[in-house]
Subunit: 229 residues, 2 copies
Amino acid sequence: MSHTYEYPRPAFTCDCVIFGYDGSDMKVLLIRRAHAPFAGLWALPGGFVNENEDLQTAALRELEEETGVKDVFVEQLYTVGTPGRDPRGWVVTVAYFALVNLHKHPAAGSDDADRAEWFPMSELPDNFAFDHADILKVAVERLKSKVRYQPLGFELLPEQFTLSQLQNLYESILGLSLNKRNFRTKFLKMNLLKSVERQKEVSHRPAQLYTFDEERYRELSAKGFNFEI
Amino acid sequence: MSHTYEYPRPAFTCDCVIFGYDGSDMKVLLIRRAHAPFAGLWALPGGFVNENEDLQTAALRELEEETGVKDVFVEQLYTVGTPGRDPRGWVVTVAYFALVNLHKHPAAGSDDADRAEWFPMSELPDNFAFDHADILKVAVERLKSKVRYQPLGFELLPEQFTLSQLQNLYESILGLSLNKRNFRTKFLKMNLLKSVERQKEVSHRPAQLYTFDEERYRELSAKGFNFEI
């Protein structure tokens, strides 16, 4: 079956940048392409949007089909149609991104992708299919800027966590080491955390545990803040 | 001439939400559609992306063709492909937005649009073509959230301006009245402004004039801030 139009139309795809936090490292979900073009190269999970399919629905469908990862809250990143970005011709793609708890979202390959894997951000493949390295770079920048004005960590950390665990999360996203005292002072000032009773069973001095103040978390998610780290 | 593809493809368009500040009011640039569908209704300027045309290039081209407005720095807003959004069938659109000094960007109609007009945000048409009312709403929200973490005004205000003029700009964007003392205190704390000598020729007590500290403006544009208004 073929489809004929009066004017040229682009093929339209979606791609997903899924960052996964495993408690210590930030990773990104990639698939190894099973078919041409770029067969054997690593790429972002994604594929063609179906006729009259909502774009976000398409992104989640492709993500699950190619990697088994589902129940993810994705946000639209941007759309790119730079001429020459796809050897097959005129292809426009809309990219989505998400940051998830890796342990809640194990990945597996599929028919379209011969493998799906979580790559540490420090050990990315040398070559990506298409312009996926560029899309990933934009997603990293978006995520880094997001942590400065939106609370984050609710679904990424255990229910009770130490300030060290929280700091490690921020360091993983920002890709840099933060001053411990400075981080703690600034974070505590936002009143986002509630302290939890210290553990009593351990012999060494136990670290203070915290949970998020859910009401404050929602409030700051809505109105934003400035976390100058 | 016709174009045939193996799989269905969407028609792909771009739309521009151009906000214009005229020194007292916030306006938005709309065109009245000359052709079906929605002939006679007001719409965002935009149109079909050409084959292998960069998306932002397409948006600027359509903007100039339909309204005469050019030399605008647009940012991508989002892409929407909700089924049924266009009576012609499967049409995906990428929306761009910008905030410009209205006096520097007069608008005129064209062949595709029988009229182009700046509408005050408080006097918008009752009906828009397509889902353009929704796209405009998303752009308004994006602009409102942007003023809370990015400096703005450099190209919108005269080179030297009073705090009242600055406050009016923020009130126009946010669509609400701000407390004068509160606004001034918080804004001055950001060290974004340099005071200029008061005018000497006027008989009444002249208002203090300010300019932006360009270096600080660039710095805050890059790293963001939190303007809690």
